[in-house]
């Protein structure tokens, strides 16, 4: 029907440049470099884009518009907690005093910042029921790494050298086994029962003197609360192992229940999930790690301590390996994703005690309502006898079998209806599944719209399966060829040009 200007997707920033073109206002005054030895200099400039400022602004503004995001769409991505990212928290973290602070600025010039971190540490202690918190991990996976490395440091310190295994349920997120391996452990899987809980007998069968610890998410990635958690903790502890809590799902129980009370020894939180900091198209995140008394000495550095000066004022300072000789040490050059921590603190301050509780409550209410509506609509639930936590699983194994339409096809078709697809094919143990997490910040009307869309797609699956199989149809591109992408690697403009 019509011929639009070349779609952004087909034109890279390299395609719109011209030799010698520049964003002139961004050129610094030149500097004399004739004192540098010629043999250390590069022969020719790097092949960077050559565009005007307007070209760059227009190109990236238009590219942004090819994304789905929380600010544009419902985004019920299970296990990812895609909730509203308060603009006020972004503002707080963008205050000049914070943005312009050098990470190695002397403590005397950092008291405002350190006070923020200390307050966040204290808040997270209360929320998790743990003894101490280090904020340095830069994402969930780095928090997991820190936690498991602490477990290892603990056993090492006790010369308990035979413990070579970390147990992980089959439902676990991929970062759990991968983390175990990065810490020099073997990852050993534990079966999950038909009700979504860990199979206690299977656990008993594998736990033992080789067990360094177990990594659990609770509620689990099956979207249900691990009911026998206290019993599991006893089994693992009795065997000399420790319990790691993967806090990715903390949103479900925030302000209601605490991992510390369930018997966990160490945990991480995903501030970019539970504490509403934006995901940024893949990061940054922040994965503070919290420890009980037993593992406290091993927490990664730096973190913040509060002292009192002569005149009774609070003085904050960094705790380093000098203070915590048993610490697993530093995880990054500086102190972690400071800007994300400030956003999380701002969010925590706005929520307060009551607000925290309501997060868990309304995340759970929304999930159970959505689950109920989908049940009524005739979709197949993976764990129909269970309460949903903040998320739940539906499976399209019937559709796959009878119509040859997969969960992925349905996910792509959902995009046409203007909402992002839920997490697909995770956890791996449920075939053709969606893991659906609406979060507490969505309205019931939005949930109803999602139900409506899924019902219509189910009808399409029956009447026009090809329409669904070839979705999406309304986005900047149709279904992409993943196989070609991996076979004929085109990873940069030069090689691809």
């Amino acid at each position: 029907m019509s011929e639009r200007a070349p779609a952004v997707g087909t034109t890279t920033i390299f395609d719109i440049g011209a030799p010698g073109r520049r964003a002139h206002a961004q050129l610094a005054p030149d500097g004399d470099v004739s004192d540098l030895p010629a043999d250390c200099l590069r022969a020719s400039g790097p092949a960077l884009p050559a565009v005007s400022e307007l070209q760059a602004v227009r190109h990236y503004t238009n590219l942004s518009r090819c994304n789905f995001s929380i600010d544009n769409q419902f985004y019920p991505l299970g296990s990812c907690t895609m909730k509203y990212n308060p603009r006020g928290a972004h503002r707080a973290a963008s205050l000049p005093g914070f943005l312009e602070r050098h990470p190695l600025a002397p403590d005397a010039l950092s008291q405002g910042f350190l006070a923020c971190l200390y307050e966040l540490q204290e808040t997270l202690k209360v929320v998790t029921g743990m003894a101490a918190v280090s904020l340095t991990p830069m994402a969930g996976a780095q928090g997991e790494f820190a936690g498991v490395a602490m477990i290892r440091a603990y056993h090492d310190a006790r010369h308990d050298d035979e413990r070579s295994e970390i147990l992980v349920p089959t439902a676990a997120h991929g970062t759990n086994p991968a983390t175990a391996v990065m810490c020099g452990y073997q990852a050993r899987e534990v079966a999950v029962g038909a009700d979504g809980d860990v199979d206690i007998e299977a656990l008993k069968a594998v736990v033992g003197p080789h067990t360094a610890g177990i990594m659990l998410t609770n509620p689990s990635t099956c979207g249900v609360f691990e009911r026998r958690i206290v019993e599991i903790a006893a089994i693992v502890h009795d065997a000399g192992g420790l319990l790691y809590y993967d806090g990715a799902n903390l949103n479900a129980i925030l302000g209601k229940a605490r991992p510390g009370d369930m018997g966990f020894d160490v945990l991480h939180m995903n501030l970019h999930k539970t504490f509403a900091t934006p995901h940024g198209g893949g990061g940054p995140g922040s994965g503070p790690v919290a420890a009980g008394e037993r593992l406290l000495p091993f927490l990664p550095t730096p973190y913040v301590a509060r002292d009192t000066d002569g005149s009774g004022h609070d003085v904050y300072r960094w705790l380093t390996v000098d203070d915590r000789p048993q610490s697993i040490g530093r995880l990054s050059a500086f102190m972690g994703n400071a800007g994300i921590l400030l956003r999380a603190l701002a969010y925590a301050q706005m929520l307060g005690r009551e607000g925290m509780r309501r997060v868990g409550e309304y995340a759970t209410l929304n999930a159970n309502y959505l689950m109920e509506r989908l049940r009524e609509a005739g979709l197949e639930l993976a764990y129909p006898t269970r309460r949903a936590s903040h998320e739940f699983i539906v499976t399209f194994r019937e559709e796959a079998k009878t119509q040859g339409v997969t969960a992925m096809d349905i996910a792509k078709r959902l995009l046409d209806y203007g909402c992002h697809a839920p997490t697909t094919y995770f956890p791996l143990l449920v075939p053709e599944c969606f893991l659906i997490e609406p979060t507490e910040t969505e309205t019931p009307e939005e949930l109803d719209r999602f139900v409506e869309a899924l019902i219509r797609i189910r009808d399409e699956v029956e009447r026009e399966p090809e329409l669904v199989r070839t979705a999406p149809h309304t986005l900047p591109v149709t279904r992409l060829d993943d196989v070609k992408a991996a076979r004929e690697l085109d990873l940069s403009f030069r090689t691809g040009g």
Binding site: G9, T12, R22, D30, D35, L36, C40, R42, G45, A50, V51, H59, Y60, S64, S69, D71, H90, A92, G97, E100, R101, H102, L104, A108, Q111, G112, F113, A115, V127, M138, A139, G174, P177, A178, M182, A187, V230, I253, A257, R258, N270, P278, H279, G281, G282, P300, L331, S332, F334, A338, M350, L365, Y369, E372, R386, R387, T478, L480, E488, R494
Partner: protein, 459 residues
Amino acid sequence: MPFIPHTAEDTRTMLARIGAASIDELFDEIDTDLMRADFGPLADGVGEMDMLAAMSGRARRDQTGPCFTGAGCYDHHIPAAVWDIASRGEFMTAYTPYQAEASQGTLQVIYEYQSMMTALTAMDVTNASVYDGGSALGESVLMAVRASRRRQRQGGARDSAPVHIAVAGACHPLYLDAARTITRNQGIEIGEPLIAADGRTDLDALAAGPAPAAVVVQQPNFLGLIERVDEVTAWAASHGALLIGVVNPTALALLKPPGEWGDDGADIVCGDGQPLGIPMASGGPSFGFLCTRQRLVRQLPGRIVGRTVDSLGRPGFTLTLQAREQHIRRAKATSNICTNQGLLVTAATVYLALMGAEGLRRTAARCHARTRDLVDALTSMESVTSRFSGPFFHEAVIDIGRPAGPVAETLAASGVVGGLPLGQLHPELDHCLLVCATEKRTDADIAAFRQALAEALAR
């Protein structure tokens, strides 16, 4: 109920539909014993207004004069457009681009970023970021060890032999700390930096040390000096070790890129992307970059974007080579990394597009010239000298003839962030400050620093 849209009526209707009498009933699968926690110590919630007032008060406390500290984090000019664009909701509030068709914006940005970083480093491939420079070094070491173990395995050797990594010259001590934490449990031992009296790599010590699986060299090195990267690269190549380059991306606008070091270039290149449009912001979030050779692409951790076509044959972008990653390979993944530093990569991509080769070159040249001016200004004082005579990029070690720690504190008391006292990290440099002047530092800034230092030293 901040950020929760439910009206009382909504809650009632929804509970009725579920068939539950109360929200608490939805938690009835949780042991009541586990529901008795005391959240009392938490404060009451406050509105955005009060939150911002409190945060602003704290932020104001930390505002300082011009910054002369670098050491891995640099106060560069950031074009206003960079964050105006990166903060757009479409970039900022999207998830990892798992649904490629609904994430072409982020995916194309990453593809462009990959193109820019490989151009800058003269390497073949790069991933879509790791956490920061320190963890990037850790991942680089793991990559190198995987690659060399594979080589050894193919040669029949056992997996569990402890592996040595040599550090040629002054590498950022905090990067080394992070890398050690990350690699320690995999039987990897990262040596102490081998630094000669001139502040650069001690090649003799390198030759005398244990045979390394990889050699790490930083350019410019931690002390600001231009390193002997060609010699180190050649040494590594001739001793069967992989060469890991740690680089400053601004410097690469001027300096020979690691892909061209020695005869065949570096094998792995990493560093911190902060200089590319990221505010200092206490050191994070920034991002780590990680580039390598085509032959090692399957050893790269983290996300990689590839260009492909859609069902109509039109170009499009998607995550690729996912079989390296934890969500597919689980225990066999190249790393546990999942969330990375995507938004910072977006900012860096816009930054590099705005700067172009000439913009980045000018920034680098100006930084160099300003630092020379700074060193000249400071060393024009009696009792202040340059510690090393070799060429530097935009940082330099100045010797103030007395323990630098207390002097830095005196400077701090007058609001000056006046360089990093080196005694804690390098005891032999206890009288030294590592100072830096970026393109933003004016003559007046430099004069003010000189004045403050003169006063501190006159005490």
